[in-house]
Symmetry: C3
Subunit: 309 residues, 3 copies
């Protein structure tokens, strides 16, 4: 099973996930344990980021190294391909870079559908490392794989997504992927002003995923297998104020932990703000700085292997 | 034939170009086809950029990798060597970096003659990757090689340079190199306000290169072998306004293509603004995203090999 | 003798310096002469810089390469791990990066005690590459090693530290290390407004290091073995004005050179401003662009070998 461009999470169907990507990710975990491999020796990656990135660029560049491939050029200022003018079109940059013979281009673009546009003009595979308000497919794959690894399955799980759901692309992307599984139940826990948007809810309805909305995590905590906490962007002062005294309703803390099932997990795409208190970190159910971080490396490795090996 | 510093296009005479650099660039094309080489194994390059760069930094870093060498340090913020003060002089930075034992330093500086100054204090070869309003020698070599490869010769060609010729360093640098060949005829096509400056015209006159000025590309298009379109910087609102309705006079579009010879070529140093319409891209005469981009890699490779192998 | 985190210069006692680090640094000089080594083959470094850096990042990344190790990820914008919010805590970033299996993280943080905090949460060694007003331990080790190499000893030396001593962390860090040696005499030469702070003076007193304050370098120059000139930050207009006509008192120039002992040395941590005139550079006593720069590479190499080999 060869993969070419990785543009959006929708392109991964259940078979591709369960029969190809996840087994490959498990193989990658072994490779990481063994200190790396050479299966991508001689392969060249270009990191072409139009925005700065911490986690994602680190993950792909280290993934490439882990597999013996090379990052031959890396920039977080790809807009410089335009020489500071607004003139350069993504299409020209991608076509130009392809002449330098990379085997894959990892692209973060600052506008929606950047990766899709790029893929139309590229002669080599494009991996979408996020386009601002659009997709960030590897994120959702990382999250789904983490759930699968810790809980052994996706079907039948109950999952609470918590926080600012209207804008967070991570909860949105994960919802798309969950729609491919059976008997999943989702609880959207958010303030009134930050509810999950209708497009996702309609999508879930079409895929027979039961969802329910609420505004107190503590009510739901005992019933779920996964609490997927999302990032509350600090500048959103308005939102926070609306949170007001209700803030406790959306924070994972020791009280919430005590309510949770013994084998449930707490996830967070990072970076974390106040929405998970530090005393949660030591609990074995907190996977965000453990298994979920591990997945952040092995999923890019698996994708690179699928594309390049 | 060993090369040491690469500071300005003037240092390349016809013999060096035709008998050394171009054959070497053709060898580099074969190496690229074959997926790379190890002729620079163990060699170390430092990318020392005082300004951000897309294309040029990518080209040199990927060129180094293609030849088996290593980029051991890369910065686009070399002014940080001054710790944020204005105190640091280029001389100190270069002398300091030389103690780290690079085999070559690729330098982009933000002031004219940076590379020349650096070369005076460096104990290793310096390659000029552009100093703001001064030279960008590799650019002109890339362009000249592209013409040679597509048209088989330089002597006797007619070349139209189009656009903002007063400030564009690419057209200026290329003119210098064309001055070394015979029977070349240049048409400078620009608005009155952006004409090629006198220093270049005097240089060409001294080298018996016939040139002619005009302001309508369509008049000249049927007579030339090369249209060398240049970048129209967007912020130059004044210029654009002066362009006014005359804008069509300087744009390469389907109409211009239809007027051109069947074996002529359209070049552009990139990034492109509005000055070449997208419908031109598919025409085989448009080389800017094909052969000219390829040259952007093989000329740096050839220079690195000349210097380091 | 294995080293783990490198957080502050205090952790290096005299034995560690003289019996382990310095001999290792001399071995590293041989390796540099020989063009590198493979003793760190397979080892992975992450450069995690929260502030831009020239010299220090270059030194560690090139040091890693010299020893055959790899820089698998390098960023000067590590604050992007917070996605642009202020939310991310250093602790989360370090814990996350550790899951990517680096063998060492070189960290520059923008607040005091960053490296110390990081080391508490890291599962791999942290090397402090500077935290703003706090420590920059490698700097002091580089300086001390340079003195040892050129003068053959530390004990019994007379050292003048010159300039803005109140804020310069380099003079402060070096003073800490000098406190571990015997019969060292320090002259602090600075304007009244920029005197060495009391904490250092008390530390020296406790360690039986004789120090003396003054404000005219020329008076002291004949008596010292080392002039350690420090950086005068240009924006410090106030200070400079206070310098006023007294400026000559703190500048190393030909006049000062003429007063110095024949086998004394002039040091500077770089970048240099006006505080050392250019005519000093050619004098063999000026080590700042020679031996001191060499030490900037071999000390990081020695630390990496101590930690990783």
């Amino acid at each position: 099973m060869k993969l070419y461009h990785v543009i959006e999470s929708q392109q991964f169907d259940r078979g591709l996930l369960e029969e190809v990507l996840f087994p490959l990710a498990r193989e990658m975990e072994r490779i990481v344990e063994e200190g790396g491999s050479n299966i991508l020796a001689g392969k060249r990656m270009i990191s072409c980021f139009y925005e700065r990135s911490g986690r994602t660029r680190a993950a792909f560049e280290i993934a490439m190294d882990m597999l013996g491939g090379k990052v031959v050029f890396s920039t977080e200022h790809a807009s410089e391909f335009s020489g500071g003018t607004e003139g350069e079109i993504l299409e020209d940059t991608i076509r130009f870079l392809c002449r330098f013979r990379p085997d894959v281009i990892v692209l973060r673009y600052h506008e929606e559908d950047g990766a899709k546009t790029a893929s139309e003009f590229s002669s080599v595979p494009i991996i979408n490392a996020g386009d601002r308000t659009g997709q960030h497919p590897t994120r959702a794959l990382i999250d789904l794989y983490t759930i699968q690894q810790r809980l052994g399955k996706i079907d039948g799980l109950s999952i609470a997504m918590v926080g600012d759901l209207s804008r967070g692309r991570t909860a949105r992307s994960l919802s798309y992927l969950l729609g491919k599984f059976s008997d999943v139940r989702i609880f959207f826990i958010s303030p009134e002003s930050a509810k999950m948007r209708d497009d996702i809810k309609e999508y879930l309805a079409r895929h027979n995923i039961v969802f329910q909305e609420g505004n107190d995590l503590r009510e739901i905590a005992p019933r779920v297998d996964v609490i997927y906490q999302t990032q509350t962007k600090r500048p959103r002062a308005l939102l926070l104020e609306r949170y007001g005294q209700a803030k406790g309703f959306y924070v994972v803390d020791q009280e919430v932990l005590d309510l949770m099932k013994k084998d449930a997990i707490v996830m967070h795409p990072l970076p974390r703000g106040d929405e998970i208190t530090f005393d949660v970190d030591a609990d074995q159910r907190a996977v965000y700085l453990r298994e979920q971080a591990d997945s952040s490396l092995v999923i890019p490795m698996a994708l690179l292997k699928m594309i390049l090996a």
